[in-house]
């Protein structure tokens, strides 16, 4: 069932984006895809009504942590909850993400049910 909510998915891997998109679309969300941090900022700015962002960390041009920091200093993205979805598992990076305002950190490969549960909780659908 459609929730009417938009989620921005930022990942430089097309396969990874499709995996996340397929999972979220099946859960009723509309997905906007972005290919790196720069594209992510643009897509978030042009989709100010998006409810949440799912973002990779290691990406070319602007990485996920840089995008997160840029987003949190600028409206309207500052209010959007962000989940980092990455192969990175280093506590120091998690701490950076937490301090920059991320709401969650999932280490790839992700479990679809875990991602959907986290998204539902953060957008108020649970």
């Amino acid at each position: 069932m459609a929730t009417g909510k938009k989620i921005v998915v930022v990942d430089d891997s097309r396969t990874a984006r499709q995996q996340v998109s397929n999972t979220l679309v099946a859960a009723g969300y509309e997905v906007i895809e972005a290919v790196d941090g720069n594209d992510g900022l643009l897509k978030i700015m042009s989709n100010a009504d998006a409810s949440l962002v799912v973002c990779d960390v290691n990406m070319p041009n602007l990485n996920g942590l840089e995008m997160l920091k840029a987003l949190k200093t600028d409206q309207p993205g500052a209010r959007m909850p962000i989940i980092m979805l990455t192969t990175e598992a280093q506590p120091a990076l998690l701490q950076q993400a937490k301090q920059a305002g991320a709401k969650g950190w999932i280490v790839k490969p992700f479990k679809p049910e875990m991602l959907v549960a986290a998204v539902r909780k953060l957008v108020g659908d649970s």
């Binding site: 396969t15 290691n58 990175e88 598992a89 999932i106 875990m114």
Partner: protein, 161 residues
């Protein structure tokens, strides 16, 4: 560590493998597309993945079939594998940085390193041959410790803030 992480990752994407052993780099039968990802920090080097196209096709999580989709998935597999290795190294006190992966396609590859002999790990997956190369130079002050649990978030786990 490399063999265990590789076997676990490949099994998780539907490619159960048997480890054959190391093979001379000149004897390795490289696939037509390789993915490469670099690493830096306390260990500097690269990880190379050679997986036959039919296995990349079979394991593609969203059913991709085109060359770009398969190349992208092969690159993501290199990213996932180095992520696992990075977590293992972190639990032993070594921090590394990861580059973004790339893929190369050619009719033939010759793998060389600047000094020494590359270590090429060979795996069998239902009669198909896969090769994984992990080459790295360690900082002189690097000392690996006994593995510690809880040093890194495990694959598939989530932390909420």
């Amino acid at each position: 560590m490399i063999v265990a992480a590789s076997g676990a990752l490949l099994a998780s994407v539907g490619l159960p493998t048997t480890y054959v052993g190391t093979v001379p780099h000149r004897a390795a039968r490289w696939a037509e597309t390789l993915s490469i990802i670099g690493l830096g920090g306390k260990l500097r080097g690269s990880l190379v993945l050679s997986i036959p196209t039919q296995l990349v096709l079979r394991s593609h999580p969203t059913g991709g079939t085109g060359p770009e989709e398969l190349g992208d998935w092969l690159a993501e597999l290199a990213n996932l594998l180095l992520g696992r290795i990075k977590s293992n190294l972190l639990s032993q006190g070594a921090t590394i940085e990861m580059s973004t992966p790339l893929t190369l396609s050619a009719t033939a590859f010759r793998f060389e390193r600047f000094s020494g002999t590359p270590v090429v790990h060979e795996f069998d997956c239902e009669g198909e041959t896969l090769h994984i190369v992990f080459e790295a130079i360690a900082d002189p002050d690097l000392r690996l410790t006994s593995p510690r649990t809880g040093a890194a978030v495990e694959s598939g786990e989530m932390v909420t803030f």
